[in-house]
């Protein structure tokens, strides 16, 4: 691609829009956010991913100004936000619970923030109509929130937060209640809005596919800490820990003892009496240290015979097959009892050539297919 890649986080001259500086948030003696530092740049689409209760909403609420950090600092556009109330921040948030005003119609809900800006009436009307069209709510403009469906409410909440065209938009699971088609359309709509307005998005999602689609960077969180921040591709291909690998997509984790063989080559001894697996990593592991190979199912080849010259090959027995239409996932039990998932595209309709239950097969992968992790 000729166009320059959007990666302001790699540019040392770029000023971040949001800076978390050693932020800790405690509720009583419970630590919801644990000494977190993170920069987020203008025009980013920053996705927060993590299990329930890991502190995603808390991070959003601190950005919106509903919670103050117990320790540390949050800067937006270089300004310390400690004493800036929510209504004076150029930030809008879409609430996980939607928080629609029950006494106002859909139209008035969307217009609410615009009226506070003292926008002239005709401009305001246009803007609301635009938002209604965008979220396909024109038909429901006169209804009250309790008279529309859950997905429609979610769209009202989205429209309401978008209406003011803020510099920073916080979306707490904005698309969870939408069906797949509408969700995808809305995702593209969001990316489009972002393209046009240059708004910075911080988005919480439970749907990693969504994070992969929309995000410029993904942060995987656990228990109030960010475990890894990287582009979707990098986080998928090069997770830095078993936790991240496991959280994003399907993965096989093979545990073993590491042994250095070359500058960046390692052998992972995963079972006595079997040839170790070979892998490359820039990570420095001590000999004998526990190491993990994380390998995605689609990177493993299934074959009837041992492939010639494969760096890593192991024989096993198929215990389960999941047919996914365009793909099949084979669950193969290898010596030691570990079940490895391998995915193969169903390119041919010749079902008689496919493997079936109880078949002995060979699994193989290349030197660089898996990542070596130390934790």
């Amino acid at each position: 691609m000729a166009q320059t890649v959007f990666a302001p986080w790699e540019d040392p001259n770029e000023k971040p829009l949001i800076q978390f500086k050693n932020v800790t948030k405690r509720f009583g003696d419970f630590t919801a956010i644990d000494n977190l530092s993170q920069d987020i740049y203008t025009r980013e689409f920053f996705a927060l991913l993590g299990p329930s209760g890991c502190g995603k909403t808390t991070m959003m609420r601190m950005l919106a100004g509903f919670e103050n950090p117990t320790e540390g600092q949050i800067l937006i556009a270089g300004q310390d936000m400690a004493h800036v109330p929510p209504n004076e921040r150029a930030v809008n948030m879409m609430f996980q619970s939607y928080a629609l005003f029950p006494h106002l119609s859909v139209w008035e809900n969307i217009a609410f923030g615009l009226k506070r800006m003292k926008m002239p009436t005709d401009q305001l009307t246009n803007r609301v109509e635009e938002m209604l069209r965008l979220t396909r709510l024109t038909k429901f403009a006169k209804r009250k929130p309790h008279q529309i469906s859950g997905g429609q409410r979610q769209r009202v909440a989205l429209a309401r937060s978008l209406a003011r065209a803020p510099k920073l938009l916080l979306l707490d699971e904005p698309l969870g209640a939408l069906d797949k088609k509408l969700r995808e359309e809305t995702q593209f709509e969001l990316m489009d809005i972002q393209e046009k307005t240059g708004t910075t998005f911080v988005i919480v999602t439970h749907d990693q596919e969504e994070a992969m689609t929309v995000a410029s960077r993904v942060a995987v969180m656990d228990e109030g800490r960010i475990m890894q921040v990287a582009t979707p591709a990098k986080i998928y291909e090069e997770p830095n820990s078993v936790y991240v690998a496991d959280f994003i997509g399907d993965v096989n984790i093979i545990q073993g003892k590491a042994q250095k063989t070359s500058a960046d080559g390692y052998d992972i001894h995963w079972a006595d009496g079997h040839e170790p697996f070979h892998a490359k990593t820039s990570l420095g592991l001590a000999d004998g240290q526990t190491g993990f190979i994380a390998i995605r199912p689609e990177k493993i080849t299934v074959s009837a015979d041992k492939p010639e010259g494969a760096m890593n090959a192991v024989k096993g027995q198929i215990v389960d097959i999941a047919y996914l239409g365009n793909m099949s996932t084979y669950h193969v039990k290898i010596p030691g009892g570990l079940v490895i998932k391998a995915q193969a595209a169903n390119t041919r309709r010749l079902s008689r050539r496919a493997f079936t239950w109880e078949d002995e097969v060979w699994l193989s992968w290349t030197l660089t297919a898996g990542s070596v992790l130390s934790e």
């Binding site: 929510p86 619970s97 209640a177």
Partner: protein, 272 residues
């Protein structure tokens, strides 16, 4: 399932008879043609007519209405503010003490409230009259308003206010545009309750009323000491009517609107 049995019916009848028979008799005798309270001499509305010409009673009634409207309005404003702070402003030093103190007047004997107010007014040299009654009524009825409003606020979804702030409202605007409209039924029923309480009150009013202004209950009470006249029956009937309308409206308003609002709110707050 509960069934209708004779026992239930009897219990119900007895209970209601106990509650309402005295009032019923009063209402009936207010339409008595005879001047003697205990002797029935045919139906007449003449006592109602005579009431209209009784300036002392009319003055007292006017004072009572003024006191009721003004004091319940003050009480509603103050009570709502107190409830809002106690429910919303999370923890602050002395919060438990404050919330305890705001409810204490509910259980305080009225005589004590009245007496303490009287001492206060004398102490600060305030002449007793309509103004002092208003102050006194505001004081005790704001606790009731605060109880009614805070029970509504407890179930109020705080994120609605946050959303309002997020969309550019100052805390006060957020309260005015979002919180208040939503809790309005509770506030209105609080007002009605305060108004009814103020109409009813004899004890506190008699401590704080002065020669320049008396309320209807005081007037009735002192008139009765000279003997019950059918005129008073008529007056009492009217008061029963007003109070009944007030209480029934209050309960209907709060029940219906609060239930509906809460459903709306919950529906709006939850996904699907």
């Amino acid at each position: 399932m509960r069934r209708f049995t004779w026992f239930n019916a009897t219990a119900l009848t007895l209970g209601f008879a106990f509650l309402y028979l005295p009032m019923l008799i009063l209402v009936i005798y207010s339409f008595n043609a005879s001047k003697l309270v205990t002797v029935w001499a045919g139906f007449s509305t003449k006592w109602y007519g005579e009431l209209i010409n009784n300036d002392a009673f009319l003055d007292a009634a006017w004072v009572t209405v003024q006191v009721g409207v003004v004091s319940s309005t003050f009480a509603t404003v103050l009570g709502t503010m107190a409830a809002y702070v106690l429910v919303r402003v999370g923890r602050f030093p002395g919060r438990t003490l404050f919330s305890g103190m705001i409810y204490a007047p509910l259980v305080m004997p009225e005589v004590i409230t009245g007496l303490s107010l009287l001492l206060l007014f004398i102490g600060i040299g305030l002449d007793r009259g309509i103004f002092t009654i208003i102050l006194a009524h505001t004081t005790f009825s704001m606790c009731y308003v605060s109880v009614v409003v805070s029970s509504r606020l407890v179930s109020f979804d705080k994120s609605l206010e946050e959303a309002a702030l997020d969309l550019g409202c100052s805390p006060f605007t957020a309260f005015r545009l979002v919180t208040l409209p939503i809790i309005a039924p509770a506030v209105i029923s609080g007002w009605l309750l305060a108004f009814t309480l103020s109409l009813d009150d004899l004890v506190i009013a008699s401590f704080t009323a002065g020669p320049s202004a008396t309320t209807l209950p005081i007037k009735i009470f002192s008139a009765v000491r000279l003997g019950v006249s059918p005129e008073i029956n008529a007056l009492s009937t009217i008061m029963i009517g007003i109070v009944a309308v007030g209480v029934i409206t209050a309960s209907i308003v709060s029940k219906r609107a609060a239930v509906k609002q809460q459903q709306d709110e919950q529906a709006a707050a939850r996904a699907t």
